[in-house]
Assembly symmetry: C2
Homo-oligomer: 384 residues x 2
């Protein structure tokens, strides 16, 4: 397998982009990535999107987007793994370049979620759960993560305040990110007193509904080295699945697929988790980030709440988690999230993250997951 | 890139499988493929499915299917390219094995289309067209292909009888396929007099709505050679896109993406189209097969109707097209079709196709397309 580098990044402001259709949102991010790469050549593209069918009545997405990007007849593939569709797109693009099948691959992620009502969006997101054993019983994602939170609090003594501190940290970071949907800062009190969604999760524990896209350009490392832009290598890719339904899990306080995917990605990179300087992870709910820090080994099992409380995962902490603001503050256009994580990590490793720069960052890790962890994708990035 | 072989095939009877949910249909085909491979090991899986979101309210499909196949925590990816989702799954699996990322990859395709009403199915299929420029104007796929048929008849003198002869041939072939949804034979008169759907296309010009799945197991060729089952190599893979909307095409009587994808696949294999002994192609409508034979170079532009009339594409003709019965007779569970084409070609190259065996077949080609040709996937298979 060939070494693979990221040579272009593209992302626009995320939010409720009512004036722009899905194709426009995607094309804007893709053009920024192509411009950033400084290379007017795309051999193939891979797009992550969870449910353009349910959100905007459009499948055959890769054909549409290759057309609107003006890139036909190149191969274009769309991949789906619920909220980890973007991470999956990155992995497929990585494999395609590593294999030698294509040299320059555009990897994009996109979701247009605000063209439907809140109920319809909740239904569409609910299709990431097991339709027969979860969705049909009326469960939606805040309810599923609320059960995980209750179990975690009960078993480990994780507190309401610790959940809130995840939101406070990520909104603090997001306030330094001009592309974030909600760059506003929040306090522990604000989170604790916000509207209850599914006990114990409150509205400020939840990532928002967002329209957005992100894109990166990949190419072989040796090709990247001949170019002007800094080449950040992807040195590890891990992908794992777990039971789609929470009811089938051995332990609903553990994210086993994340643990396995991270182990694979780090092994491929020949690195340990301690070697990583920053982390972009899937904080779809505050409890998710706490459980992810444990699954990655940044905190012992049950100690994820304590880690955020003690500042371990803060921007200036030992293990900075979600310097971009994470899904909480930056927004969560589900299919785009995994690609946006790569955009942030590469930006950090280039030293271009401005106010939220993790100083001297040389290695970073992204963790993206689908549903309640039925799928997880982890990638390791390194500056040369 | 490593050489890749197909070592396992799985497919069950297709039709209106009301008693079986999507997961069951998929698992049955996957288990047959694993059994056929004689190898109880799967390192990764790729599933093609067009729209489980709209058809059955389930996304996050690869997580679900890896779970129900009892294969967690292996990596599992779902890919979508409308009706060419199966062909795209095959390509992604091929790249994954060729790259060295995984050794044994299960490639599956599945669609459960009969749980919704006819109107809902028509809407779901319509999402393969350009939503803003085609679907919103009321166009559905019979209408789109009818326009292509009218243009072809007008420009080249293709006749009503020639369209019907495609259906007659494919139902003849399908009558020899015990897994076909409609193994009944039809006559030119029956097709000519069947209910009009979108002038000039009649109901017997159209492939049906089908529930079904198909699966193949891929591995590196050197590994396959050490096993007992015959190893059929995938020697070429081509993928191309075209404008998603017919209104943007230079010429709606040409399938440019198929022409380009076939050229790439044959170039990779180091073969010419004349070297192929049989073809499984995407006859979603009778006119589609006529245009595909031209795009592949089996007939000159405009001469595809004549080719079927003269028996060139018959089971005992010079270029046997759709020995399986094609989408017309075998059925068209959209995401499964591209994988089922591979099942048929490999079965033929193994000499296991029974009554519909193309004698002495050593090389075969599959052509799978999405929408009106907005995407196309072509693969070349060779017996050792």
């Amino acid at each position: 397998m060939r070494d693979v580098a990221v040579i272009g990044l593209g992302m626009t402001k995320w939010g409720e982009l009512w004036a722009k259709p899905l194709r426009t949102i995607f094309v804007e991010a893709a053009l920024l990535a192509i411009e950033d790469a400084g290379l007017d050549r795309i051999d193939s593209m891979v797009v992550g999107c969870m449910s353009s069918g349910l959100f905007v009545g459009q499948e055959h997405l890769a054909s549409l987007l290759s057309d609107y990007l003006g890139r036909i007849p190149i191969p274009a593939a769309r991949v789906e793994s619920a909220c980890s569709s973007g991470g999956l797109a990155l992995r497929q693009g990585f494999i395609e370049v590593a294999s030698g099948m294509s040299d320059v691959v555009l990897v994009g992620g996109v979701e247009k979620m605000t063209d439907v009502t809140g109920c319809e969006a909740t239904f569409a997101l609910g299709t990431a759960a097991d339709q027969e054993y979860e969705s049909y019983q009326g469960l939606t994602f805040p309810g599923l993560y609320a059960m995980m939170a209750v179990a975690h609090m009960h078993r480990y003594g994780t507190t309401r305040d610790q959940l809130s501190m995840v939101a406070v940290k990520n909104h603090d970071n997001g306030s330094k990110n001009p592309l974030a949907q909600f760059p506003s800062k929040v306090t522990v009190e604000m989170v604790n007193q916000s509207v209850l969604v599914a006990d114990p999760l409150r509205i400020l524990d939840c990532s928002p509904i967002t329209d957005g896209a992100a894109a990166v350009v990949l190419c072989p490392l040796d090709m990247a080295k001949r170019m002007k832009r800094p080449a950040i290598r992807i040195t590890g890719s891990g992908h794992a699945t777990d039971t789609i339904s929470l009811s089938s899990r051995k332990d609903i306080t553990r994210l086993e697929s994340t643990h396995i995917a991270a182990g694979k990605a780090l092994a491929m990179a020949g690195r340990k988790i301690e070697d990583m300087d920053l982390f972009e992870v899937h904080d779809c709910f505050t409890i998710a980030e706490i459980m992810i820090t444990e699954a990655l080994g940044l905190a012992a099992p049950g100690q994820g709440g304590k880690a955020v409380e003690e500042g371990v995962t803060g921007l200036r902490g030992k293990h900075p988690v979600n310097p971009s603001g994470g899904l909480k503050s930056k927004g969560h256009p589900v299919g785009a999230t995994g690609v946006a994580q790569a955009v942030e990590v590469v930006k950090q490793l280039r030293g271009e993250a401005g106010e939220r720069q993790v100083k001297g960052a040389k290695r970073g890790l992204t963790q993206n997951m689908g549903g309640t962890g039925g799928s997880a994708l982890v990638h390791v990035f390194e500056a040369d």
